[in-house]
Structures are given as C-alpha cells and as structure tokens.
C-alpha cells in the first residue's frame, strides 16, 4: 500500500496547489470571489485527507484531538464582529507563525546534530521569521484590541537595540549552520527572535497598523515557505510564496499610500517626527455648522462624496452612514464613498465595514478613482478621517506628511468634517483643511451627528 498512497499524497498536494492559485485568482472580482473561498476549502480538505493517509503516521489520537480542538477555536474566530477584523487578522498571523515555529523546532531536535548546512539555513530562517511574527502579531493584536497602549513607545537608541538583537539572532543562525552540533544555541536563537518581535512593534502607532499587519502577513508566508523547503513539501512552498507575495504587495501599497519606506515605518515611529513641525501657529478660525444646516446643504447637492476613516469604525457609525446614504439617494443625490488605502487599521478595512452596512460595493471608490471627481463634487463629507484629507501633504514641504497621496476633498464645493473637537488627529498634525473658506466643522460624535442629519433630512426634528 505504501507506494500507492505515496503517489496519491503527491497528487492531492498538486491538486491543492492548483486550487490555491485559482482561489486567489477568483478573488480578483467580488462576483467570483466566493468561488475562491470554496476552491481554497476543497484544496485544504484534500491535502489534509491525503496527509492523514500518509504511511508514516502510526498514531491518530493526538491528531484527532488537535484537529477537533483547532476547529472549536476556529469557529468563534471566524465569527467575530467586522469591527474586530484587524485584531483577528493579527491574531491569525500569530497562530500561523506559531505552527511554523513549533514544527521547525521539532524538526531541529529530530535531526540535530546531523543537519546539513542548507537545511539549517532555511530552518533558521523559518524559526526566526516565525518567532518574530508570533510575538509581533500578538503585540499588534493587543494594540488593536486596546489591551496594550496604542501610542508608540519610543526610547533613545531603540533602533540600535533592535538591529543589534536581530544581528545576534542571525549570528547564532550562522554559527548553527557551521556547527549544528552546538544544539544549546538553538533556544537562544528562537528566544531572541521572540523578544525581537515584541521590540519591533513597541514603537508602532495605530496609524501604521495597515503597513505593519501587511508586513507580518508577508513574514508569516515566507516562514511557511521556508518550512516547505525544510520538509521538501512543494505545496507548502507554493502556499507560503502566495501568502508572502500577497503580504508584500499590500505592504508596498500601504507604504506608498503614506509616502514612506518600509524602513521608515519599522524604524521611524511616526509619533516622533511631528513635534518639531508644529510651528507657524496663526490665530485662524474654523466655521462650524449644526446638523440642520448640514442637512440643508446636503439636500441641495447633486453629488456627494463621503470619506470614512478609522473614527467611523470607532464610533460604530457605519449603519447610520447607511441611513444617510439611503436618505440622500432617495432624493436623487449621487452618493459615493472615497476610500484612502490606509483608512482604518488594515488594508480594505473601510470597505468591509461599509459592505456590512449594505452599501453597494460599486459606490466604494478608491483614492485614484474618486480624486478626479472631487472638483465636480458639491459636498465632501468627512467622517472620522483626518490625515488622509490634509492638503498640507500637497502644498507644505515642511509638513511631516508632505508628499503623501491624499483625497483632494478641499477641491469640493463644500467640505464638511464631523469631528469631536479641533484637536489634531492621531499623528498630531494640524490640518489646514479645517480653516478653509469652503469648510464647515460639524462638532460631535460621528454616530450621533450622522443620525441627527438623517433625522433632519427625513423631515423629523422640531421643524416637522
């Protein structure tokens, strides 16, 4: 039976690899996307079933217990609220990397001291990337869930300490490649990688999370691919390469959308740079408006672009925004959403929240699609977004966000910003948008304020 099942296993892996690629291909459009999930599931079940028939397996007890336990943990993780998706994603990066790191560690102790140099190199890569992804992702999840402080924590010489730690881990890896019999070194290598993961995320603030989550996604994928090299398993190499590529593309997108390099995100600690840039304080005044006035302006418009940001997610305002969308659409007003790539805490975060609130996806436009429309737009309504609308990014070379691509909301006829107060946003950068002649501040909680506008539009309120 052995040779037959050996071939069978290879065939199931091959089919699974094809299905995985199709799965991502089908994800390119919302129309075929759900078929992609189906393909992924079939591929996964096939590969696991094939593996269970593997001739080397002598004991199914622990496998069965672990599979059942994993499924029991997985179901609630698949059913979290949509607002909790960023932290859930970070947590799943940690789980994926944990699996890879544990397998790598077990393989090392099974094979040591006879580990060929190439094997030891990829194994080291696997557990260093895996280890730092485990703790880094847990830290990111903690910050996103607000168990840990969201403000970046920085200290003098931080980058030097981090780089030194990584250098030591790599040095140990090199030592192990040359002398795999020095097995006592292995726990130090993994330990340093684990600590490094924590240190790497300590200086990261909330606004940088989209880039960091993407980067951790890429690391998780690459460590899985490295595991594929260790186990000589091509399916794992394919899946890891796909995941690594995906995370890499997203990281590049996110960095571009913030006009920053990877290195700057990881070693720059956004919160730091701003303090020096606060100069030129003029006594400027911003005009404010009530919900009633805002409703009057909106109902006189033909074209409205709504710009959501993380503040909308925090205020849980997406369902009220849907009501506003309905009220305006009913009056024949064209309503679209302009979504900046880094709005929210992970790539695509806003789209998911708005789709959950039943807003059709063809109304959700990304930055490049919506910017040409903004000069012909009557009202741009900004809900809980700040830096991504800051015109200083276009004009003020001294601004820390100069050069960052933004949504050109200032070009709309009227701009309305729903905001709790005039205090600057997360990154602490003043927004000159608020002092423009065509801008109105709508002070209040996003959910409550949008609710009041809807009430006014539907003819409710004191005026009947």
């Amino acid at each position: 039976m052995t040779p037959v099942s050996g071939h069978l296993l290879e065939v199931t892996y091959f089919v699974a690899a094809v299905l995985f690629i199709l799965s991502l291909k089908w994800l390119s459009s919302p129309v075929t996307a759900r078929r992609g999930v189906w393909a992924g599931e079939v591929g996964m079940v096939l590969a696991v079933a094939g593996t269970l028939l593997h001739h080397g397996i002598v004991d199914y007890k622990w496998i069965a217990i672990a599979l059942v336990l994993g499924a029991i943990i997985g179901v609630p993780l698949g059913n979290v609220a949509m607002t909790a998706v960023p932290q859930r994603t970070a947590l799943s990066h940690a789980f994926g990397a944990l699996c890879v790191t544990l397998v790598g560690t077990a393989e090392f102790y099974l094979r040591a001291p006879d580990v060929p140099p190439f094997m030891m190199s990829v194994l080291s890569l696997e557990v260093i990337l895996g280890g730092l992804t485990v703790t880094g992702s847990l830290m990111a999840a903690g910050k996103l869930q607000e168990i840990l402080p969201q403000r970046p924590i920085t200290y003098k010489g931080q980058n030097l300490v981090n780089l030194a730690m990584l250098a030591v881990a790599v040095a140990i890896a090199v030592r192990l490649v040359l002398h795999p019999e020095q097995m006592f070194l292995y726990p130090f290598m993994v330990g340093i990688a684990l600590v490094f993961g924590v240190m790497l995320i300590v200086p990261i603030g909330g606004a940088d999370m989209p880039t960091v989550i993407s980067l951790l996604n890429s690391y998780a994928g690459l460590s899985a691919a490295a595991m594929g090299f260790v186990l000589n398993n091509k399916l794992l190499i394919v899946a890891g390469a796909l995941d690594g590529a995906s995370g890499f593309i997203l990281s590049v997108n996110m960095s571009k959308a913030m006009n920053r390099s990877f290195a700057n995100v990881l070693f720059g600690a956004f919160g730091q740079v701003q303090t020096s840039a606060a100069g030129a304080v003029e006594t400027r005044t911003a005009r404010s408006a009530s919900a009633e006035e805002a409703a009057a302006i909106l109902s006189a418009a033909n074209k409205v672009v709504i710009v959501p940001g993380y503040g909308m997610a925090v205020a849980q305002a997406q369902h009220k925004v849907r009501e506003l969308y309905d009220a305006l659409t009913k009056r024949g007003i064209d309503v679209k959403f302009g979504i900046h790539p880094v709005a929210g805490r992970m790539p695509g975060h806003m789209n998911v929240l708005l789709a959950e609130a039943d807003i059709p996806y063809d109304k959700l436009l990304d930055m490049d699609e919506v910017n040409p429309d903004l000069p012909q737009t009557d009202v741009a309504l900004i809900i809980g977004a700040n830096d991504v609308t800051n015109p200083a990014a276009r004009t003020d070379t001294s601004s820390p966000i100069y050069g960052m691509p933004i949504l050109d909301v200032d070009k709309a006829r009227t701009v309305m910003v729903i905001k709790r107060s005039m205090s600057p946003g997360f990154a602490g950068i003043d927004n000159p948008l608020y002092y423009l002649d065509n801008n109105l501040m709508l002070f209040g909680d996003a959910k409550a304020f949008v609710g009041n506008i809807v009430k006014e539009l539907s003819g409710g309120g004191a005026h009947g």
Binding site: I21, L24, K25, L27, S28, A33, R34, G40, G43, H54, G56, I57, V58, D59, W62, I63, A66, L67, G70, I73, G74, V75, L77, G78, V80, M82, V85, T89, S92, F95, G96, L98, C99, V100, L102, A106, E107, Y109, L110, F118, M119, A220, G221, A224, G228, N232, L236, I237, V238, A241, L242, D243, A245, L250, G348, N351, V352, A355, D358, D362
Partner: protein, 99 residues
Amino acid sequence: MIKADLISSLYVFMLAAFIGFEVIRRVSPLLHTPLMSLTNALDAIAVVGAIILAGEHKSNLATVLGTIAIVAATSNAVGGFIITDRMLKMFKSSRTPKP
C-alpha cells in the same frame, strides 16, 4: 534534502512567487481585507507538516509540538475560511437585486 530536490524547490518557489504577484496585483483594493484573511487560511496548509510530526511519534517533544501546531493551524484554516466567506457575502452590487 538532496541537491536536485533543492533546485526544483527553488524553481517552485520562484514560479509561485511570480504567479502570486501577478494574480494578487489584480485583486481590487475593495477586497484587500478578505484577501488577507484568505491567504492566511491558505497558509494554514502548514498543518500537513504538523500532522505528520504528531502522527509519526518519533519523539515526545515532536508529538507535543506537532499537536499544538495542528491546533494553531486548524483554527486558522477554519476561522479564516469562515470569516472570508462572511465578508464576501456582504459585498453586493447596486445593480443586482437584493435577495
């Protein structure tokens, strides 16, 4: 791993990375969150390595680590596919009638 295996593995990695870049570049920014949760679920294929480790019972350490690894990867696969499907179900076009 013998040398021929290594070289063919490198080819597989290189080709898969290129396919990944080309396929994923075409994914609309609209679906970047489901993209991340789906690739995460697919990444849980690492479970096959953990299954063999736990099942071969070559050492107690390997069995224990393999078992924990299966739990971690399985929860990722199950949770990842569920949430990806939940998200994709929500994306509706204004041109198609609502159910």
